[in-house]
């Protein structure tokens, strides 16, 4: 049991000795992505190989007996390079080898050559062209990032409190509790300029200050882990990859605002996050770091986990607290703000996962250090999930103010299969699209707003010429319409009407005045919806309408979809040069739209064709193509 700071120091020293006692650490990425590609199998295989060798100690907690090598097989948080999973790192002393796409049949070789022998298996290294990269830090994807929130992801065992302690974990809490008073802690966060990473960008310090100022002695600390934006997985990666850091950040907030209860609201689709957080909380309670009289002080803190139940709107603060209370997750009119009347009508600090995960480092290294990273208005770093038509998909962290070009081309490696960059959708369903002309703009909370987009939580979906922007707008609108909670009319009805218009357009039945109606509705919903989600729901439409208006017009006037995505606007054509006149397409056509004479080129009647694609799918000569 850790009952005071002496205990904590002693435990930490022990943990450091243990961590240094390893001759070799095998770090298997156990993020959701890598587990999906089979990393848990790799973990088990490597563990079994080592356990089967009587000459080696497979150690879960190493010891001083160095007659036999100490090898630990660890499950780490997301190593970032999701596309190339399963990822495995082998660490010996300060040398680290990064293997990518590790398959079960590679395990024996890894064990014999790298773990026992210390040799590098070239085949499993990341390579770009001829160049092969050994250590993770050499890979441009990783080398060009600045990892603060994600510093431990990929390095530490996500399930080991000792490894977290050994790497300086809970030093920040200790410093906050014993070297600073509560106001100083809040002041430091305020001075750091840390802004809420959930999308709003509201200064965290100001929130904490407002809560601390309330008369009500009961306050709550709530973490928003309801990362609902499709295409975003940063918060999930922090919860499953470094749960202790999130918890430490929440505890510091709890100490600062005199709260003794914290809640983490995790979305239903993240079972791994729930498991890792529960495990972390159980360990901390067992060791005395969570509970009553932490480190022998008068500060008590209890942490609870609530699982979401599949409602996007619960990412909104007042809806989230309503959900924890056991109600329908519907936002309410503000004021009163959450800082005054939040969970159970009590003053509540509500921040998102990434915001809390920034806190320990700010307390340890100070506000000035934090302000030295990022931009003046948006200090620090931001995590992004890089997805879509990009070469290196994955989880990244960069200083605020980085440009899209740095993120997409330097880190992301550019477009997949040499495609052309068309747009990047940022901020999810509440965000907008940025294009070529924005590539060199610095990305921070304020700059992006100027282009009708938001940094949002950090989902970044890259799109190439095969993406239809009108269809993307329809996609987001169908999402927000489905997820609208129905409480306020502008959002409930407005999103529905907007979706109808967009569906009309992608089906080739749009009229030009629909664009005016869309704009009118978008402005109405944006100004009049009750909550932040409703207000931002029209943003994808507003942003694509301003940047890709010509594509809307093409759909309406020319009945043409240049990306060939919108089914109704496709035109199936038979190339007479390739057609052998076998007649298979005509036999497959469900509506008899294809006619012709055997051994002569066939013809598709576009007025009858229902664009099902059965002809193209079955043509043995690839003679049928889609015309935009």
């Amino acid at each position: 049991m850790i009952q005071n700071i002496e205990d904590l120091s002693r435990e930490r020293e022990k943990a450091v000795a243990e961590l240094n006692g390893y001759d070799c650490r095998v770090l298997v990425c156990s993020g959701t992505g890598c587990i999906a590609t089979g990393s848990d199998k790799i973990h088990k295989l490597l563990e079994d190989l080592i356990a089967d060798n009587p000459e080696i100690d497979l150690v879960f907690a190493p010891h001083d007996d160095h007659d036999r090598p100490n090898i630990g097989v660890k499950k780490t948080g997301c190593q970032g390079f999701c596309e190339l999973g399963p990822l495995v790192r082998i660490q010996k002393g300060d040398k680290m080898v990064q293997y990518v796409k590790v398959q079960p049949e590679d395990c024996k070789e890894i064990y014999e050559k790298t773990i026992l022998g210390g040799d590098v298996i070239e085949r499993l290294l990341y390579h770009k062209g001829e160049k092969k990269y050994v250590g993770p830090e050499e890979i441009p994807f990783i080398a060009k990032q600045t990892r603060i929130v994600l510093e431990n992801c990929g390095k530490l065992d996500a399930e080991s409190l000792d490894e977290y302690l050994a790497s300086g974990g809970f030093k920040a809490l200790e410093k906050a509790m014993f070297q600073m008073d509560r106001d100083q802690v809040i002041e430091e966060i305020d001075k750091s300029g840390l802004r809420g990473r959930g999308g709003g960008g509201f200064p965290a310090g100001r929130k904490w200050k407002q809560v601390a100022r309330q008369k009500d002695p009961i306050r709550y600390v709530v973490c928003n882990g309801d990362e609902g934006d499709p295409g975003a997985f940063m918060d999930g990666s922090v919860m499953e990859g470094d749960p202790f850091k999130l918890i430490e950040g929440m505890m510091i907030a709890g100490y600062a605002v005199r709260s003794s209860d914290g809640y983490i609201y995790v979305r239903a689709e993240y079972p791994m996050s729930v498991t890792r957080l529960r495990h972390a909380i159980a360990l901390l309670e067992e060791r005395g770091l969570l509970g009553d009289n932490i480190l022998g002080s008068d500060f008590s803190f209890h942490l609870h986990i609530n699982r979401g139940a599949g409602a996007f709107v619960c990412g909104e603060g007042s809806a989230l607290t309503a959900s924890i209370e056991g109600n329908r997750g519907m936002p309410r009119v503000k004021p009163p703000r959450t800082v005054e009347k939040g969970l159970w009508e009590r003053p509540t600090v509500l921040n998102n996962v990434e915001t809390y995960a920034n806190v320990p480092k700010i307390i340890l290294q100070g506000a000035d250090w934090y302000r030295s990273i990022g931009t003046a208005g948006s200090p620090g770093t931001k995590t992004f999930s890089l997805t879509g038509a990009i070469e290196n998909t994955g989880l990244i962290e960069v200083p605020m103010g980085s440009t899209l070009r740095e993120i997409i081309f330097d880190i992301g490696g550019g477009l997949k299969n040499g495609a052309t960059f068309k747009a990047v959708q940022i901020g999810g369903p509440s965000g907008g699209c940025l294009t070529e002309q924005h590539l060199d703009e610095p990305l921070d909370f304020d700059s992006v707003k100027k282009f009708n987009a938001i940094v949002g939580s950090g989902g970044m979906v890259v799109m190439d010429e095969h993406t239809c922007m009108v269809e993307v707008a329809r996609f987001f609108m169908s999402f927000t319409q489905r997820e609208s909670c129905g409480k306020c009319v502008p959002c409930r009805e407005g999103t529905k009407r907007m979706l109808e218009i967009l569906e009309k357009i992608v089906n080739g039945q749009g009229e030009l005045e629909d664009l005016d109606k869309l704009e009118e509705l978008a402005t109405m919903v944006k100004t009049m919806a009750l909550c932040g989600l409703g207000k931002s729901a029209p943003l994808p439409v507003i942003s694509t309408l301003s940047t890709f208006r010509d594509e809307y017009i093409e759909h309406i006037v020319d009945k043409k979809c240049r990306a060939k995505v919108c089914t109704a606007l496709r035109k199936y054509v038979i190339n007479p040069d390739f057609c052998k006149g076998c007649g298979k397409c005509a036999r497959n056509c469900p509506v008899n739209a294809i006619s012709g004479k055997v051994k002569n080129p066939y013809h598709i009647d576009p007025t009858v064709c229902i664009k099902c694609g059965a002809c193209k799918e079955n043509c043995a000569f690839d003679a049928i193509y889609v015309e935009a």
Binding site: T32, G33, I35, A36, T37, C82, E83, G85, E227, G228, D229, P230, G231, A232, F233, G236, S237, A268, E269, Y270, P271, N306, R307, A309, G310, A311, F312, S323, I324, E325, G326, N327, R328, G329, M330, S385, L386, T387, G388, A389, T393, G394, L395, Q425, G428, G459, V461, M463, T467, V472, F475, F476, F479, E483, C485
Partner: protein, 158 residues
């Protein structure tokens, strides 16, 4: 009428979370995890046990997408249609599954109660889009062919 054992199990779950209104959602989640759906009789029972009205319990249960009053299949397949998966062509995967299993937008579960196919807005494995989840396991980089092969494999397992 549900078997007595359903009520005993529900009692256990209620005891775990406490007889409080705030425990409604976690209790419903655990009951649903146990039976793969939320039987209406149990919802009424839970409401009574934790001291809320049946209408309140019903209003909460119907608000959240995760709760289902209909029994689900042995394998619940969630095809991700988040942005990243959508732009990497998740729709053909969904359509292939529908076609193979005789399901549609309206019909989610096969008559033999083996498979339920749903869409989900994001599974958080966007780096490996398009993805889908069978029960709690995530499958990466799906194609219609891979999805059909997986169905065949699951059918083999029974």
């Amino acid at each position: 009428m549900l078997d007595e054992s359903y009520y005993r199990k529900t009692d256990e779950i209620i005891a775990h979370y406490g007889r409080e209104a705030k425990a409604l959602i976690p209790i419903m989640q655990d009951v649903q995890a146990e039976y793969r759906y939320l039987p209406g009789e149990l919802l009424a029972y839970i409401a009574k046990q934790i001291g809320i009205t049946e209408t309140k319990a019903y209003s909460v249960a119907t608000f959240y997408e995760n709760f289902s009053f209909e029994a689900k299949g042995k394998y619940v397949i969630k095809v991700c249609d988040g942005t990243a998966c959508h732009v990497r062509h998740s729709t053909p995967v969904l359509e292939a599954l529908w076609k193979e299993l005789g399901l549609s937008k309206k019909k989610h579960t096969t008559d033999d109660m083996m498979f339920t196919v749903e869409t989900v807005s994001c599974l958080g494995a966007c780096g490996l889009a398009p993805t889908m989840m069978v029960n709690e396991q995530v499958y990466p980089a799906m194609t219609p062919e891979k999805a059909l092969a997986l169905i065949a494999e699951l059918r083999g397992k029974g």
